[in-house]
Symmetry: C2
């Protein structure tokens, strides 16, 4: 390990001059500077982060607290991490992965006490998250992916649920649907305080109301079996429903089974969309489902950027960013059936010319998933991952 002293010796100057030259901390004569730089390069000098951190109190290390991979820990959550790590790397920071144990606050106290990290990035934030209080009180800079019920002056990047719901509603409304049902997670699948579950439900209801669409809520399912049952119940009670949005991949599997069992076809008899699920998952279905894909990676990036921004500016005005999901139209969206009451066969009935045909004549497309088609009525143009800017 070559140190500052080695460089100083070789360049015939004092260590502090080398430090200054390399960091631009104070003016250094051009000639001296180049001499120092050459010496540093020749020796392959790398500043020791520990020593630097010890005195400067800043390590350029961020911690990402991620929850134990419980039930629903999928691609989405992990993309936060990769997005965050990338953004950190681009800005000269490092990202530490800290698995959260049973006592998050204790974990945080330990972690921040180490003097190792400059800031914390929280994910899986609950509406009443206790971690924010601790961090605020401890004076540890942090930002969140997701947000608490009342974010106040904390920094966060979260999904724009209102806009997402609005886009979804506009999509089905644009296709001519007048009734939309929403199949949510059960409230205890994740924490009962899990923001996305609650906010998505609320916002779908609100968006439907505003659009003058009939909304059917209060449905929950976390497994294929529950999804199937929920769908059957739904159709019994509300045979007029022609469009359904589903939160849970597994529930969607059950819904598809129930749809097929009734002899219904998608999208002719029902428009089905997956909410907060990646296009990669939606692609696994037959037909390929329309999806509202969460901007996971971008949220991770944003979270890191706003954290670093705060760290570097010293200014702690909060950054709060909402990013809508991206509507990826699949093969499960279509106009509503002319006569909803007379759809398909019935359970156990003649199943001919249903799923077999459907998959049979389905046109296989390659990777053209990025087509952003929003319903005509929506009025806003196709949108892509927008800026990377931290913007207030």
């Amino acid at each position: 390990m070559t140190s500052l002293r080695d460089v100083a010796k070789r360049a015939q100057v004092a260590v502090s001059t080398v430090s200054a030259a390399l960091n631009g901390t104070r003016p250094v004569a051009a000639e001296t500077k180049t001499r120092i730089e050459r010496a540093a390069a020749e020796l392959g000098y790398r500043p020791n982060l520990l020593a630097r951190g010890l005195v400067s109190k800043r390590t350029r290390i961020l911690a990402l607290l991620f929850p134990a991979p419980h039930s629903g820990f999928g691609l989405t959550e992990m993309q936060f991490a990769t997005g965050a790590a990338e953004a950190a790397g681009e800005l000269g920071y490092h990202l530490m992965l800290s698995p959260e144990n049973t006592d998050p606050v204790k974990e945080l106290r330990y972690l921040t006490g180490l003097g190792l990290i400059d800031g914390v990035l929280l994910m899986e934030v609950r509406l009443d998250d206790e971690r924010t209080a601790f961090l605020t009180e401890a004076g540890v800079p942090f930002s969140m992916i997701g947000r608490t019920r009342d974010p106040g002056s904390t920094s966060y990047a979260d999904i724009d649920f209102a806009r997402t719901a609005q886009d979804a509603v506009a999509h089905v409304a644009g296709l001519g649907h007048r009734t939309l049902a929403f199949l949510n997670h059960s409230s205890n699948a994740y924490s009962p305080q899990y923001g996305p579950t609650i906010r998505t439900g609320e916002e779908f209801a609100a968006a439907a109301r505003r659009a003058g669409i009939d909304y059917v809520g209060g449905l929950h399912a976390d497994s294929a079996q529950e999804g199937r049952r929920a769908f059957d119940r739904l159709v019994d009670e509300r045979p007029d429903v022609t469009a359904l949005a589903v939160m849970n991949d597994h529930a969607a599997v059950g819904v598809l089974a129930a749809v097929a069992a009734r002899g219904w076809r998608i999208p002719q008899d029902l428009t089905l969309m997956l909410v907060l699920s990646s296009a990669r998952v939606a692609e696994m279905f037959h037909p390929r489902l329309t999806t509202l894909e969460p901007p996971s990676s971008e949220l991770g990036r944003l979270g890191v950027r706003m954290l670093i921004d705060r760290l570097q500016s010293g200014d702690d005005t909060p950054h709060q960013r909402l990013v809508p999901c991206r509507l990826v139209v699949g093969d499960s969206s279509g106009p509503p059936p002319a006569t909803p009451g007379e759809r398909g066969g019935r359970a156990g009935g003649p199943a001919g010319a249903t799923a077999g045909d459907r998959t049979g004549d389905r046109d296989e497309r390659t990777g053209d998933l990025a087509r952003d088609r929003t319903g005509d009525r929506a009025g806003h143009p196709a949108r892509d991952r927008t800026g990377d800017e931290t913007g207030a």
Copy 2:
């Protein structure tokens, strides 16, 4: 930040004594020790990792180099990371996520030059991976998830492809199949040097040969469309194939479409299994596919454990561990049809009573995915995630 000096002051001893007492570095009188411990607890003392690392040259920080999330970056890869982070945490270490840019070796040089990390964990290891040479030469301790062509004396945790293939072959053979086809990734989907792609192909061929099963290889597909085409070609050329193993999720989607298009049923007309894919993904299919699920999280854990073991023992005899995939039997496995030549309808023909029925009478099961049933002929008992021990 309370420091050693604060504790020393409060306990009325010298800093060096506090250090010794807290680290057990040298004998300290029991009475003094408790006094120190109490003082430390009262002050909420946390050792500063930077200061400690600066002198001890050991930070207890490990770096996980993960590749840019290119094409096939899924759940599997991410589970390495979570497994690794957990294992690290349990052993008092920290895991840094280092996204790999275009020049991995440069990245590594930089990273290891920082004096910040004690060791490196490599993933997405290619058969001729250049990173290992650098790390070896630089004397940086490392271990791998995956392995190079000739691992020599490097430490790694990898999938036991031979055993996995053997289990798969035994499974289908046990069901009575005499012919097995294998649909691999195309060689350029990942790096042309991507170990799993190559090893799995080889081992399936070998296992089939040993089991006296007719093997059809040389098939590749990375997308649904390619999967569909590959399957159609396969059936044309080898109508005797009754079992098919598929590496790629997307290809499997295409295969299922092609199967349905022919009016075939699964598993009656074809036994289909997914290789190196998580059970969560297999669950998305209809019917739920039999899977050989990679022990991703465990590989991550093992990688970290062997790295830390080497770090702490100072002994650099390599640890090399192979862990087979877990066979999760789904609803896509069954005995071969009596007369393979007369299966189902043909493309575009009467699709009646096919997929519709299949999904219709499918029994929805909840979460009971852990059933380990290995083929009768295999002769080895159900196996679960085995030990966590690092074992040499």
